[in-house]
């Protein structure tokens, strides 16, 4: 039962990711992105890390996509034609096959990343969602214990970021010319 639910959620995520790249308008892409982020949060829950699922919903859908929607509304972008609009069915089929082959390459890269540790993707330890690796107690102990330095530097990084974004996006005043 859990497996069927997992397959359905992952197909939903892939369908919404497809919707991001073929949508006619940036707002449709943003809505598809929200749906795919929710699907990924459900996969995080199934894997056994509820903290990251909550953080994903809060930060990704709650802040990042909201920022996207703000900018799209600010720039008042209109509908464009979908990238699928002028294509024949044969070219769409071939591009789907090409994407599938590229994902096999990504899978090979993922496999080779794990090779020094444990013979690749086929010999990983089974997933234990109740194992407690994703529980918030363990994460907070590690985040404020072993990873305290990166955490504090991240807060400094965010401060620098806010100043930088203001410097980028502030209204630029035009000084009047002298003598006129």
């Amino acid at each position: 039962m859990k497996e069927i639910f997992f397959i359905l959620v992952s197909l939903f995520v892939l369908g919404c990711a497809m919707g991001v790249i073929v949508s006619r308008s940036p707002i449709y892409s943003a809505f598809n992105l929200i749906l795919s982020f929710f699907g990924v949060a459900v996969i995080f829950l199934l894997l056994g890390s509820p903290f990251l699922a909550a953080i994903q919903v809060l930060i990704y859908t709650g802040a990042i996509v909201v920022l996207f929607v703000f900018v799209v509304m600010l720039l008042n972008l209109s509908h464009t034609s979908s990238p699928l609009s002028g294509q024949s069915a044969l070219s769409i089929f071939f591009s789907t096959v090409a994407v599938w082959f590229f994902s096999l390459i990504v899978l090979k890269v993922m496999n080779s990343i794990l090779l020094p540790m444990s013979q690749g993707l086929t010999s990983l330890a089974p997933v234990n969602p109740e194992g407690g690796a994703g529980e918030i107690q363990k994460i907070s102990l590690a985040l404020f214990g072993e990873y305290l330095w990166p955490f504090e530097i991240l807060s400094l990084f965010l401060l620098v970021l806010i100043v930088g974004i203001y410097a980028l996006a502030r209204p630029h005043t035009v000084w009047p010319k002298k003598g006129s």
């Binding site: 990704y60 996207f68 990983l124 997933v127 991240l154």
Partner: protein, 110 residues
């Protein structure tokens, strides 16, 4: 090739997650290359970062350690930061050329 066939024969369900991650990453990359709207390009970057987050969390849960999850938290934060800066840049581009179509910005093209 034989290892691939072996892999499919000993199919555990959560190896399906590896395929999902790979296809999600590939979709993000294809969208990055195909779309000409700068904002949608940023959204496809977020898709790719999501795929890598999924992989990190899955490996961390299999291993029983929290290192991958903390790495994923940092990636999440930096992705939010990068979206902020990227949208600031896009706003400035829009002020310059009144469009966000990436084909228009070709000054550096040889």
């Amino acid at each position: 090739m034989a290892s691939l066939i072996n892999h499919f024969q000993s199919f555990q369900l959560l190896h399906w997650l590896h395929y999902v991650i790979a296809v999600l990453f590939a979709l993000g990359l294809v969208g990055l290359l195909i779309r000409r709207n700068a904002i949608i390009v940023l959204m496809c970057i977020e898709l790719m970062l999501n795929a890598s987050n999924l992989f990190l969390v899955e490996l961390s849960i299999r291993d029983g350690s929290t290192d991958g999850i903390i790495f994923a938290i940092f990636i999440l934060t930096v992705a939010a930061a990068e979206v902020g800066v990227g949208l600031g840049i896009i706003l400035n581009l829009y002020r310059l050329k009144k469009t966000v179509n990436l084909d228009i910005f070709n000054l550096l093209q040889g």
